[in-house]
Amino acid sequence: MEYFLQQLINGITLGSVYGLIAIGYTMVYGIIGMINFAHGDIFMVGAFVALISFILFALTGISLPIVLILVLLIAMVFTACYGWTVEKLAYKPLRKSFRLAPLISALGMSIVLQNYVQAAQGARIKTLQPVIQGGFNFFKESDFVVTLSYLQIFIVLVTIVLMAIFTLLITRTDLGRAQRACEQDRTMTALMGINVDRTISMTFIIGSSLASVAGVMFVMYYGVIDFYIGFLAGIKAFTAAVLGGIGSIPGAMLGGLLIGLIETFWSGYISIEYKDIAAFTTLVIVLIFFPTGFLGKPDIEKV
């Protein structure tokens, strides 16, 4: 029971990170119908920006809450610039091309980002000293002590707040309305006088900033990053987006949580060495049995 509880806590934390990345996949798929395979690497860039900012701020001696806010903001702004640039360079020129072209371009962009970071930051792993320490301990008298660290609380809280803001943005504001309109009919949206290119750019900016927050949390939680983390995390978040139903935003949040839980429970009860298999087995099973995911809309063609 105590062990189960601990896995649950860890799973929700990990699920938050995946959920934030998955939103970027699902939004981009929704609006331009492509899988942005460079999104995982955008997350990696976010983690690196966070690491560098943390180290720089450590020299200044500013108090921790301010540092956290500043790092989050810096990571979001920088990473959003990367996301925006990737879209302008690699996807926009191909928008009227055949469907596979932007997908190939995305794979290329992913390799470019990885190698760029490798060249700029070196290939060795980078470590960060724990930023937030301590936590609550439960069941102290039993033989397994359940720990809920402050960091985990921070991660889950930030995720909840961001997802709430993001949901409001999509459902209540005119930017969100324009995005949903683009998802359904881009030509018609343009004929309503809406700048579709700008709406798509905004989608990339929002998706990238959410991924960068996931990057900040990742570097704080694990304390170790390298230029290659974007690949695995990206594919797992993609699995999460497919599991929830690609194109569906609540689905991405749900899928992220589920993938986080599946992976942690698998590591906790079956085998930690084979933890990556859990996520990918899920991907295969979902694609075979529920191709539209939990909350996705099936493509029904009216005849």
């Binding site: 803001i165 504001t173 005119d174 309305r177 030509t187 018609m188 004929l191 809406i194």
Partner: protein, 264 residues
């Protein structure tokens, strides 16, 4: 003529060797419903596609008189057609946003002014007063139009769930939310029954008379064309074969020939 809204001169559109529009000249007035008719494949929709920037015309000119400001429609494409030139259009098939509510469909069409008012959505997130005011106004405009087509009580339903005839009407009033100077309607009566066609006539007349919006209409349903057109342009094989009032058109031998063939 001072109240000429749209002035098309020598418009030509070629696709390789195919001449879809051949030296077409016509004009549409502000307070008129101008119909473009002709057999299938006559090039009617191609005219619309040139006007709304989907195609780049091979030759000729298209000018829109917008409050005595002559605008070259050739210079506008994509979202600028609606935003800058003030031309709205519908398609032969219904192109609503089916997964969005009826009201949201109307609000999307008012995006540009809301986007400015909301400071690109940032003020919208924190519900600033000026934004709420603008949103309320947009809501009022939507309700006004929904009242006219009798869909107020379905405002929160998905647009895709409406009956066909209501979707057609919603498309037209959604286009009106852009506050266009010229409204281009591509076969709005297609698939409507007699009563729905009559409703459509009423709606289009209202738009012409009360909103002072010029309407360019492509239509096959002659009860609609003859009932409401002030001016009719007849195309066949991309060429204008006749131009005149509805009554003149009905009796024109060229038009009868194009539609029914020649008597041997």
């Amino acid at each position: 003529m001072s109240n000429t809204l749209l002035d098309v001169q020598n418009l030509t559109m070629k696709f390789g060797g195919l001449i879809a529009i051949d030296d077409l000249t016509f004009s549409a007035k502000k307070d008129h419903i101008t119909s473009i008719i002709g057999p299938n494949g006559a090039g009617k929709t191609t005219v619309f596609n040139c006007l709304t920037g989907f195609y780049k015309a091979t030759a000729g000119s298209m000018y829109l008189n917008k409050e005595n400001n002559k605008m070259d429609l050739k210079k506008f494409s994509d979202f600028k057609v609606a935003q800058k030139a003030g031309v709205a259009r519908t398609f032969q098939n219904i192109r609503l946003f089916p997964q969005m509510s009826v009201l949201e469909n109307m609000m999307v069409a008012q995006h540009n002014k809301l986007m400015v008012a909301s400071g690109f959505s940032i003020l919208g997130l924190i519900n600033s007063k000026s934004y709420l005011q603008k949103e309320k106004e947009a809501m009022e405009i939507s309700k006004y139009w929904l009242d006219i087509i009798g869909l107020t009580n379905r405002a929160d339903d998905n647009a895709g769930d409406l009956p066909y005839g209501d979707q057609r009407k919603l498309e037209i009033v959604r286009a009106m939310c852009i506050e266009p100077h010229l409204l281009c309607l591509d076969e709005p009566a297609a698939g409507l029954n007699a009563k729905e066609s009559a409703d459509l006539n009423k709606l289009l007349k209202f738009i012409k008379n009360d909103k002072k919006t010029g309407i360019l209409l492509i239509e096959h349903d002659m009860s609609v064309v003859m009932g409401i057109s002030d001016h009719v342009v007849v195309l066949n094989y991309g060429k204008k074969i006749f131009e005149g009032t509805a009554k003149e058109t009905k009796n024109s031998p060229e038009v009868i020939e194009a539609y029914l063939g020649t008597e041997d």
